[in-house]
Symmetry: C2
DNA sequence: TTCGTCATGTAATGGGTTACATGATTAC
DNA sequence: GTAATCATGTAACCCATTACATGACGAA
């Protein structure tokens, strides 16, 4: 099995961004950190090796636009290597966007997967959101249990920290609830509209 | 200089917990994850090597309570090794709790440092809180700048993600603001009470 | 012509995880 | 007596970072 772990979160992020438009590494990194800036920041030291590896695996290729002058192309080519997805790369991206497993809802991966939700199938989106929610609820539960056990002697700072953490997670759960609600509503709407097909449309307030 | 990076966050966490009371590894891990559960979870694979290393560095030692029977002690001792801080360990802990540098306010370290704030000097606490706040504000600023540049074409999911991230960080900043306010108030109160001593108090707003 | 930023890369290192292997203790 | 949990440990690996080295290019 092994499923090829490959290059962690970066693989998806790079493939996803390159799918939207070809880019060179430096720019890629900026877009990356603009996209996920609040969660993580990647350095060149991880990005370039990743590109190299993706290239070796045939998932991306250099994108030299129509180059009439071959000699010039061979010589002048230094600095700025624009990459684009290959067919295999697109396939791989699709595959990554379709698996709704722990990799998609654990802390490291969730943000990246979410960032490309618009390229993700609706049912997969829903399962990822629900997966993350139950993951967080699980954590919440375990945490509260541990809290109950050590309740006795906690200084005020520890308490403050734990409360803040608790509230953060609860907040994310509420956020997920809202997103899940919206996703489901949309799915129902689609199901209904495809089911009707020849009946009159009806409003169902936003 | 080099400052001995040593064993990352774990070092502080372990020393801090052992300072409160001697413990064995297994228990240590549970307390650790109860304390920081919302932020990170450590596995045995990292904890035990860390203990081993701390032992080798002479910062902790096995805590065999009064053991009248030596022979029995030598034989039966398998499973459950209780550790406690050595004098060096206490000193090291104190040192770690006193440095108010990036290690204390970056994402990885902040939680742990905060968790032991009750053993931290008031001025160090304040500097760490302010350090973290400006770190977050910096991130906020950079993020908004990047946002402004790529504003044009962002799909609704990306937007949703970025908003959520933004709000999370803003929320943490507000939390820090409150904590800083409290810290300062307390410090002023202390300063005032020690300053007066024989005169009447005078207001000096903020 | 020099400085800042854009741009690409590599080597050493690091902190941590997973998976594995093992043994003791407790509860049933 | 056996299953679950407590308890300790190791080895292989992984993803990413830091620090470094290099060079092109535009603006002052």
């Amino acid at each position: 099995m092994a499923a090829r772990k490959g290059a962690g979160v970066l693989e998806l992020a790079v493939l996803g961004l390159l799918h939207e438009s070809p880019m060179h590494g430096y720019e890629l990194r900026k877009r990356l950190n603009a996209l996920l800036g609040m969660f993580r920041a990647f350095s060149y030291g991880s990005l370039y090796p990743c590109l190299k590896q993706l290239l070796a695996r045939g998932l991306i290729m250099e994108d030299r636009p129509e180059e009439p002058n071959v000699a010039l192309a061979l010589q002048s080519r230094r600095s700025k290597i624009v990459y684009k997805l290959t067919a295999d790369g697109k396939e791989r991206l699709q595959q990554l966007l379709t698996e709704a497993g722990p990799a998609a809802w654990e802390d490291e991966g969730f943000g990246v997967h979410f960032a490309f939700f618009s390229h993700t199938r609706a049912d997969v989106r829903l399962r990822i959101l629900e997966g993350r929610r139950s993951r967080l609820e699980e954590r919440l539960e375990g945490f509260r249990a541990a809290l109950a056990r050590t309740r006795e002697r906690v200084d005020s700072y520890t308490l403050e920290l734990q409360n803040h953490g608790l509230e953060s997670v609860e907040r994310e759960v509420r956020w997920l609830n809202e997103l899940i609600g919206r996703e489901r509503a949309e799915q129902e709407k689609l199901a209904k509209s495809s089911e009707i097909d020849q009946d009159m449309p009806r409003e169902n307030g936003r």
